[in-house]
Every structure is written in structure tokens, then in C-alpha cells.
Amino acid sequence: MSIQVLLIDDDQEFLDVLSERLAIRGFDVTTAVSSRIALDRLKSESFDVILLDLQMPEMDGLQTLEKLTDMVPGQQIILLTAHATVAKGVQAMKLGAADVLEKPIDIRELVEKITKVATAKKPAPQSGKFFHQLFKKRTP
């Protein structure tokens, strides 16, 4: 079964191109052009890995990261950023990010990291997937 990835970035072209490149490499990619859309999707869907741009309109990446980890504890999230500062990286890791990658991205490195984090740690039982499955079972 392919790894399910949610890619969140405010640039539609970036989403289109990177999702196609990941799909070519066998990933099942869903895209969201804003943090709000992503958070909405997570109410009904679950993903093995989330790729999140650090600089987003409305809600910045760290705020979104906090909300995502609150919503889906144990969710594997890799941050993408145009400028990785040590302070932001440390803050992101403290908030639960599995890794931080600087743009422009090396696709081989990204693929390695997605595969590594997707297989390294299963989501906690309280994850969205768990609730999703529970909800499905209880719904007549």
C-alpha cells in the first residue's frame, strides 16, 4: 500500500508540480492550498505524513503545526521552509515536527525522509485515523 501524503502549501503551482513528482515515485498525494483546508480534510481523512510549508497566509506554519499535532497526536509532519533558521527548526521540533527541509528541495532527500518517518513511528491511538475508524465502526 502506498504512503499517503498531505502536502500543504499556499502556492498552487508548487503543489501541482511536487505532488506529481511524488506520485511518479509511488506516493498517494493529497494537496491543500491553505492551513484551513488541510485542517478540514483531517476531520475526515488521515495521512501517513504531512508536508507543511512554514510560511503560510492566515495561519503560519508553526501555528498550523500546533493545531495539527493537537488534532492528530503522533501525526508525522515534515516542515518545508524557504529559510530554515536554527531557532525555528528547534521550535518546530519541540512542537512535534519529525523533520525540517529547506526549499528548494532535493527530491531524493524528501523521498527518503517521507519513507523514513512514515515507517518509523505509527500514529498514536488517539490519532485522527483511530477516531475515524472508531467512528466508522459505530456508525450504523
Binding site: 508540480v17 506529481e20 529559510h83
Partner: protein, 222 residues
């Protein structure tokens, strides 16, 4: 350098740093998309080994996307270059619109992140004699404080109009939505105090008409 000029310089350095950080971020984002498009071209070529034929129209689209992004990055770099040269610029006569337009262009990414758009009303021929970098810095301080007080859940349009009143000129900022103009004006006045004094400018607000106005002499007084 006396105390007042020192504070103006400090604000200028802060402004320069903020703008170059924002612009370099914009360039990196552009490079990231160029990188992905170039990578996609490579992927599509590699897929031919697996029997997937190349679609010339698709290649053309990707090449066009790269060209468009390179053009955009070039515009950004040109803006950055003009900005860098403006720091040490002398007193000169420019239109208020030129000043505001270049400030807005530099702050475009930050504004977009906050859901803020800009429009310009006539008249765009009103001129001011000033040190452009310092007036741009003052306009940026206005924008920054407006950004900070805007609720990013809603989109805000900020319309700029320009007026000439006797020996003064005025930059009028009209808001499409309610914002606390008194608090915003107070914050601008506080942060921009050294520049306001330097430019002999004044800040006004009008809550009813949802405006903030920056008024200054049309001739620079040293």
C-alpha cells in the same frame, strides 16, 4: 550623527533588514518552484524508459512555467537592487504614488500573507520633495502597524489616495473594512516618531471614514 538622525538610521536599518529578508524569501520560493518544474522535466524524460511517451504540449507548459517564474524572480531582484541603491539617495522630487507603489511592491508578500490587497485612486501626479528611502520607511511603518491590527480572517483592501493642501501633500489610506484607526494611528506615531519629526509630518485618523492620513510639507525642510 545626532540622536534624532541616529534613530532615523536605526529605523532605516530595521526596514532594510525586514524587506531584504522578505524579498530573499520570495526569491527562494520562486527558485523552489523552478527547481520542481526542472525536476518534473527530468522525471518525464526518465519515464520514457518505462514506455511513457513524452507529450510535447506538456513539456511546453512546463518550460513556460519556468520562464514565467524566472521573469518573476528577475523582477524581484530588480526591485531589490533599486531598493538597495535608494538607501543613500539624496533629496529628490518624486510623485507620492511612486513612493507608495515601491513600498507596497516590496511589502507585497507580507501583505498577501495577511490577506491585504492594495488599490490606488487618482491623483497620481502629486509630487513631494523628500528623501525617498526615509519616506518609504514611514509608509512601511504605517503598513506594518495596519497589518498588525488587521484580523487575518478577513480580506482587507487598502486604497491609497493623494492630496495637495496648500504647502502640504497628503497620503490618504482608506480601509475597506473597519479597523481601529485611533489605535493604529497611535502605534504609527509612536514607532515612527523620529521619522515624523525628521519629515515634519503629521498623522491623522478618521474613524468614521475609515482613513489614516500622512501629511507632510511638499518641500523638504532640512
Amino acid at each position: 550623527m545626532n540622536g534624532s538622525h541616529g534613530k532615523v538610521d536605526t529605523l532605516g536599518l530595521d526596514y532594510f533588514g525586514r524587506m531584504t529578508a522578505s524579498i530573499s524569501h520570495e526569491i527562494k520560493n520562486g527558485l523552489a518552484i523552478i527547481n520542481e518544474n526542472a525536476g518534473l522535466l527530468g522525471d518525464l524524460v526518465a519515464l520514457t524508459d518505462k514506455g511513457r511517451p513524452l507529450d510535447p504540449a506538456r513539456l511546453e507548459t512546463i518550460a513556460e512555467n519556468i520562464r514565467r517564474r524566472v521573469q518573476h524572480a528577475d523582477d524581484i531582484v530588480r526591485r531589490l537592487n533599486q531598493f538597495a541603491h535608494s538607501v543613500s539617495g539624496p533629496v529628490t522630487t518624486v510623485t507620492l504614488r511612486e513612493i507608495v507603489e515601491s513600498t507596497v511592491a516590496l511589502a507585497h508578500r507580507i501583505a498577501a500573507m495577511k490577506g491585504i490587497a492594495f488599490t490606488f485612486s487618482q491623483d497620481d501626479t502629486i509630487k513631494v520633495e523628500t528623501i525617498p528611502f526615509i519616506l518609504q520607511n514611514m509608509v512601511w511603518i504605517c503598513l506594518k502597524n495596519i497589518f498588525q491590527r488587521h484580523d487575518s480572517d478577513t480580506n482587507l483592501t487598502l486604497d491609497f489616495a493623494f492630496q495637495e493642501i496648500e504647502t502640504d501633500v497628503v497620503i490618504v489610506m482608506n480601509f475597506s473594512h473597519e479597523i481601529d484607526t485611533a489605535a493604529t494611528k497611535a502605534a504609527i506615531s509612536e514607532e515612527g516618531k523620529p521619522i515624523i519629526l525628521f519629515l515634519k509630518a503629521q498623522i491623522y485618523n478618521d474613524q468614521t471614514n475609515r482613513t489614516i492620513q500622512l501629511r507632510m510639507p511638499k518641500k523638504f525642510i532640512d
